[in-house]
Subunit: 300 residues, 2 copies
């Protein structure tokens, strides 16, 4: 393989830089606070957190590159005896203050086991507090454009994967309108070389700023009141439920003694719960719930 | 066994009645809204929710008595082939609005498998936003008094059990100041008859109103400002983390298609997260953190 773990980590770091720069410009008020950390077993990361922005209420753009002995619990879940791993990636979650602006999540990651087994994983998904079909169409079209440059099946396959992954089983609703999600991509599975898969993951990472900037600018000036705020906080409650109950990255981090504050940067500044809340008939809130389903074809 | 599932369910229902009555009187403003529900596979429950009270911001006092085929996932975790179960219990979580008043949780439950295997489980634990040693002492003394009437080892054993159970591993802190927790109690394990274990669980249930009334009345008139409110909301974030990540009752319910709104009544009306929040040196907040540890002997 012509690409090395170092070159991948370096490229991902550059993507972190590009994204924090882009989001800082987008917000116009708050800046990212950086924290550098080292992992006891090897490697470390750059956690970058933004809080109380003009539009970005709370979020993180984190990079890490860690290596060492694979924790016992993961060896078991992977079914392997090998125990030297390397992992690098960029993880983003952004919670905006304006309920008309969607929550966004992105992750690109690379994993190596004993310098033999290698794969890429990642995805981008969108969680609008109010689903707006034209925004959903734009979002999915952008992701499809990135995918189509690399492999004709990627968008459909990874869109389905996202629908299934970002699903709150106990609520029987999707977290949002999905996006793309993929894991353990190898040349065998994709027909692409490692370098080509790597390039795909970089293109996905580099699409982030453009996509989110457009979605923020479309909605940031829209007025909202107590009703919309309340709904946003309830939807954030669902986001918390997904992340703490199902998200494998979060649970993996909690079980393996990861850096807790970096992992839980995905949680919002505030989330609410109300007993058995039912939106009014024919409201935008009800419409949103009706669209939190798998297998919606957002690109008309 | 002279006690039947019917007599246990009836006694637990009476305890639910007594507690909702006591808490309604304590609050003085809001009342419980009752929802009766049936379980598809057999049985049902009475969910009682209070919201927006004088002092009880959000909480539930739920009773259920369900039976039928044991779900596959539980058969596996129990390591049994038997598949007819009966379960009844009362579950309570109360989130007060005043940060000086503690969050409280209680559960008493009885489980039967094929009319052969039987056990009792339950507990009460307290989560003060600000740990106050005199309240902690009162709380633990009350629990010890109930335990001591039944078995000399109960308090020590169940206090240790609670310390270990109500532990937020990824934060390396206890949820609160613990209390008592027990599970799968049988005559073999306790030296008591089923009827005596049952009587213990009822006494624990009946101690609830007196204990919480005292703790509420000690603190309900204490003034608080933005600082205390903010701290309360962050502590509630930890409560959400515990319940969604670790609490076995919650995870059991989510995995077995339980009644979601009844299960998640344990979540607060509002919870906050802030990146890497550190309390001021020598503050009451810092003192509280220093007391969220196992093996503190609260009864001096």
């Amino acid at each position: 393989m012509s690409i090395t773990r170092e070159s991948i980590a370096q490229a991902y770091q550059a993507i972190q830089d590009e994204i924090t720069k882009g989001l800082t410009a987008l917000d116009g008020k708050s800046t990212f606070v950086e924290e550098l950390w080292n992992r006891e077993g090897g490697g470390g990361g750059r956690t970058r957190i933004i809080q109380d922005g003009n539009i970005l209420e709370k979020g993180g753009v984190n990079f890490s590159a860690v290596h060492g002995q694979l924790p016992e619990v993961i060896k078991k879940s992977f079914g392997v005896d090998d125990d030297q791993f390397f992992a690098t990636g960029v993880s983003i979650v952004i919670h905006p203050n304006n309920p008309w602006v969607p929550i966004i999540h992105m992750n690109i990651r690379y994993f190596e086991l004993n310098e033999e087994v290698r794969w890429f994983g990642g995805g981008i998904d969108l969680t609008p507090h109010y689903v707006q079909e034209e925004d959903a169409q734009f979002f999915h079209q952008q992701l499809k454009d990135v995918c189509d440059q690399h492999q004709p099946n990627f968008y459909n396959d990874f869109k389905t994967w996202a629908d299934n992954y970002f699903f709150i089983k106990h609520r029987q609703e999707t977290r949002g309108i999905g996006g793309v999600f993929y894991d353990k991509l190898t040349p065998e599975k994709t027909g692409l070389s490692f370098e080509e898969i790597f390039n795909f993951s970089c293109d996905l990472g580099r699409s982030f700023v453009g996509i989110y900037t457009e979605l923020v600018n479309r909605n940031r000036e829209r007025a909202f009141g107590e009703r919309e705020k309340n709904w946003q906080l309830l939807r954030r409650g669902r986001y918390v439920e997904f992340n703490l109950v199902y998200d494998s990255g979060t649970r993996f981090g909690l079980e393996t003694n990861g850096r807790i504050e970096s992992i839980l940067m995905s949680l919002p500044a505030q989330a609410n719960w109300a007993y058995d809340f039912k939106p009014e008939a024919n409201s935008l809130e009800e419409k949103t719930l009706s669209l939190l389903k798998k297998d919606i074809n957002w690109i008309k």
